[in-house]
Amino acid sequence: MVAELLVLAGALLTCLAGIGVVRFDDVFARLHALSKATTLGFLLVLLGAAIALSDPNDITSLVLAAALQLLTSPVGTGLLGRAAYRAEGYRPRVDTVDQLADADLD
């Protein structure tokens, strides 16, 4: 029961990420919606599966997938965000701070 609830919460978070990716009007906002909600949702699904399954082989795969997702998702998001900043340009709004404006990009 607990496992199924965790999986349902994770799927709900992934669905919310999808809605955010469709509805938000900016590349960076979409990236934000994808990275946070997807990481937590995927981790919740993996946690639920680790509770539901009992074979140590399966648990090892789940833990490995969770560690990889937790390590690679912020790095990939940062790379995509920097690529979007440099390639698409950035039109700042009034209430935002552009910290990359005078950064030393290689």
Partner: protein, 83 residues
């Protein structure tokens, strides 16, 4: 409850697919591909719970790794191309 989770994941995949088709920039399409990979991997995990056998769970690890490598490669490509 497992069925509801699969339905939610399918809805998320449809949202990402819409952004993949429509997305004005290449970064938008890459965001959509990332989300599709995560939705697919989550669906594999949910199916492992449904059937009770984790035979496909190593696929989830591989999908996670390949997703990151593809994101990094495309991001470098977009930066180098300058558009």
């Amino acid at each position: 409850m497992i069925g509801a989770s699969l339905v939610l994941l399918a809805a998320a995949a449809m949202c990402f697919l819409y952004r993949l088709v429509r997305g004005p920039t290449l970064v938008d399409r890459m965001i959509a591909v990332d989300g599709l990979l995560v939705a697919g991997a989550s669906a594999i995990v949910v199916d492992a719970i449904r059937t009770g056998s984790g035979a496909f769970l190593p696929v989830v690890v591989v999908v996670t790794l390949v997703g990151f490598v593809s994101t990094a490669v495309v991001a470098r490509f977009i930066e180098g191309r300058g558009a």
